[in-house]
Symmetry: D2
Subunit: 355 residues, 4 copies
């Protein structure tokens, strides 16, 4: 009988609890495993913060946002002997395997653990940003798109009532997934993403065409926080202090962008930065189902001694991929998950509705 | 320059307007086509109910449930010279092609039109039941799952407060898709679907085990309206009169089932029949995006003179399939769409959480 | 230092947990009282089902539907020596006072306890039906109105798409509060309430005028479950068996009404019975605030030794009323809360929008 | 037969359309009046932007946010001969009365129009801020509280998962109504309002007590944009440029406050500024009902030739008050609506739950 550990790392998102619940239910009922949970991301195995996970402990958590295990951005590479502490603690607690639920940072730590420290590990991908390679979707993304779309819906009425351009800034530093999908779903008149630096003159030309030729008196612009103008002059202005704020909302791209639009077009322009709201609340059914299925699959891999894998969903199927195929070495020689940028064919479909 | 028509047939669902909008925008902006809309499903072409569809006409409809074209269950096979009338009217209005948005009935009519009457037609699949072959998902399904899941979430608190078994009946006469997905997402303790006739003793045994061994005092049972017991004794009791009510809610399966459960287990049992609420309201982002992408694709097929096709989503890609591959002849010699039943592997994953 | 008990009785509704939390926080932090909770309504004191209520126990329950104490329709008058058992158990547990959160039934029990058995008691009014005298609003009502209104909103699109009359049955056996408020908020074309028996010919005349003169092709009718036609021929058909189902949804008034409308007008008519969904889910802010304020006030009354009172909200102020003024004797000589029927001035305002 | 005009002025909010619809329905069906709508607030009568308002024009708008008439912050006092232009245009269009729906600015204009220019006018109070004297509630306030409360609910899970202090900034420059009610409904651990300047040391002491003595690892702070520290050092930093942005969200109070909390307590702290989202989306049932009833009443006043009044809701009743009683002269000799600040008894009830 095996003993396995679970942790959630990085920014929280809706669906984590659904994944934890699925892991625990499958592990106990399906295989008779013992399960423990580590608290606060990688701080858990480093500092030995651990607690047993029973079926009772995961009862009722399926529809709840956040994570009952807590999470953190703790990176073992930045802590002295961080990786050794993890390995030693996992052994000390008698663990046969670890299931790590996280985004590209967590995936990187897991890859290091497996490749360099030979620890049996399985990853489950989560991030509202949907930028993990090896899976079509990550846990939390569908909910973030829903929240952003509802905000865009709601801002339509105020934009229209006031004849305004409304700039809505959504999360996505390196990838424009939330912006592109919520923008299409919300009927955005323009979508800006990090994958395609924008020309402010083209931006204004699209809005002017809409107002002057189509006779519209308002516009909705959805912008990912990581979007930037071609000449690098219009972008988010977060400095180091703000980086501590994991998604800096002071001086986001939308602030500079909305001022520039107002100046160049003369249209009254306002911005809204959705910020942490995108991480909160109950997961959508899609996220609960994805999290549940990935959690089940992760335990199956552990039972079959298939380690060094990340579970994922590809083409509607639940699959597993080798962490070596989805992580790469950074300049410090540590693995980190590769970034999956937006499918630009999808963006092209959105462009049909620009202006 | 082509002239195309659009109609929506069968039961309405969220996302139809998003599809209509995408068709109109792509047809006009992308290809310079003229577009007309037929009102009230197949009654439109039969009775010549037609109106021009401009960009202005589809402005602002993306997030709205229902269909601006209206819909009906009118079946040309049941109307004298129904098909001939459609063909003649389509010619009379000078149409080069028709885009028909509907479920298996509409798909069947379209197949007849194309195969027997040689009319250039393209289908777009919609139905909250998700039972159309040739596509992983249909427009409206994701929203129906969301509505059902929210209802299950809400009924949890009342079930728990009153120590009750709560039976929730969702739509799905021939396929258990809504039941299975909303059941997994809502944390159902038991899910019953048409694809797997149930044994009432097993049903009660699962509930008893949950209450007696796990110490739970309430249970949530999700049942598709088309579910039936193995011996055929427990089922929906809709008679002919009720069939006129397209989803009969009087005497649904949940009524008989809840009484049987209460009688056999002694647990206080209540039922709720969600009914038409599952068709209403704003479409989810997922449905808006699917509808938009399918609408765009349908127009592309028309532009390429690829007719007799249904657009769909398979493995995350937007594809097209030949209507001959997804429709079959009924006993009257008319084509009708094949029924895509629930993937039972998915059901098996749900079973992990039963009891 | 006092020791007080809390219970929730009757049908559950959103906001009960908010009230329990307020009672516990005020009692402990404000007065240093000990607090215990009785489980399952009046079964709690009768059967001695009791547990301590700490601040930790009520942490995080504010936004949650249902009641952490459980509830039941147990009536001490129907149990041998029911009242004596309550009094003896309350004394046995050393209670100085009991706070009973409930509707007219619970209020009646409390009145009996106070008047006949001289036990110090304070009531907090809750019921989605809003039919308690002495308070403008009861806990749970605002949430029920919200749920019903959202359902009406959602059914609009399907009614309109199918050119249908849609009959929506909401709770309210003795009072039409939910029907009247959700009907006005949802833009109902007709509202039927128990307070005003209807004439089916007038009903149909209103719908016909709407369709024929105003050119509308759909209508929304909101009907309270307790509505009945003047000649008593159209009404809910719940029999004894159904009464066990505390809100019988089989054969509700909407079934008979919709058939009659369809028969007389020829308009396709469908019905939806909202049922238990009206009790579920998170309370609205209004219900949370009302519940919180009433909970605080109830404890203040206990601290001031003001017993035999119900707290309530009148004209926006939190007040208390004597139970003698809001309860009356039934034919068995037991007190029961008086029924507060719908303010017909409000109904008259709704009539402006009929047809 | 009278001819009346309607306009909506100031920031938009949910419920305006419900009020417009009620005015039109009552005016036409109840009194046979003609109704016209002025576009874009006071710009409408100044620039002669007018359109007829028929029953068809207001069909279906009840549940929609925003205003079909558009709105603006145009102030006739700042436009040459602004008031004279209004009076002349109103006469030119043959209007017997004007119904002005707005907040304190609009109310002030209306007071000037009535008192100084003797034009027959009736006001309907709307503003998400709820700071209008003479009415308990304004249109839009209940919806804003709902949106803020849902945001607080959602941020709870992310605060808890990350062991953070989360500062949520809501609207309210001069009055803390939204903060106080959403804070109580959302279970805030601290609420800061303009009516009570805060001491940052006390703020931190409350949070520390919560974390250290109660063992909590997260806190929720709700702050109104107009809150300020006693020494005036911690406040929103909007400059003139931002004032153009009618609710400046750059440099809101939450930015400075969250940094100060993090610095002094060492607890990781994040902020979210809800901004324009608070004005968007469908109105709650409460707002729809209030708007409907106030709209009906406003027309009744016009029919009775009772001018120079504002309709309102006091103690649950629909009433009217004299504009002279609720407006005051500013330093330029123009009337402006008095500010209704938060009822501090309500704030005191919230304090029970601080820390």
């Amino acid at each position: 009988m095996k003993k396995i550990g679970v942790l959630t790392g990085g920014g929280d998102c809706p669906g984590l609890n659904a994944a934890i619940r699925a892991v625990v239910r499958r592990a106990i009922d399906g295989y008779g495993f013992d399960v423990v949970g580590f608290k606060r991301g990688w701080s858990g195995p480093i500092d030995g913060l651990v607690e047993p996970l029973t079926k009772l402990a995961v009862s009722g958590i399926l529809p709840k946002g956040g994570t009952i295990l807590g999470t953190s951005r703790t990176n073992p590479a930045k802590i002295e002997d961080g990786y050794l502490k993890i390995r030693d603690n996992l052994k000390k607690f008698g663990l046969d395997a670890l299931i790590a639920i996280g985004g590209n940072d967590t995936l990187g730590v897991a890859a290091n653990m497996f490749i360099k420290y030979d620890f049996p590990i399985v990853c489950v991908p989560k991030t509202i940003d949907n930028d993990v390679v090896g899976t079509d979707y990550t846990i939390g993304f569908d909910t973030a798109v829903k929240i952003a779309t509802e905000a865009i819906d709601n801002l339509h009425t105020t934009a229209e009532s006031h004849d305004r351009v409304m700039v809505i800034e959504v999360m996505g530093r390196h990838a424009g997934w939330i912006a592109a999908l919520s923008g299409m779903a919300g009927g955005a008149d323009l979508i800006l993403v990090p994958e395609k630096p924008f020309d402010i003159e083209e931006v204004c030309a699209i809005l002017k065409k809409r107002h002057e030729r189509r006779g519209k008196t308002f516009s909705i612009v959805v912008v990912a926080e990581g979007a930037v103008s071609k000449d690098n002059s219009i972008k988010g202005t977060s400095d180091k202090m703000d980086v501590a704020f994991d998604h800096p909302i002071l001086g986001g791209i939308s602030v500079a962008l909305s001022k520039e639009i107002e100046k160049r077009t003369g249209y009254e322009t306002r911005y809204v930065i959705l910020g942490h709201i995108q991480r909160g609340g109950a997961p959508t059914p899609t996220d609960r189902i994805l999290a549940t299925r990935l959690g089940l699959k992760a335990v199956d891999l552990v039972a079959n001694n298939e380690f060094g894998k990340m579970v994922g969903t590809v083409g509607g199927n639940i699959v597993s991929v080798d962490v070596r195929d989805i992580a790469e070495l950074d300049k410090h020689g540590n693995y980190i998950g590769k970034t999956k940028t937006l499918d630009m064919n999808f963006y092209k479909e959105s462009e049909v509705f620009f202006g």
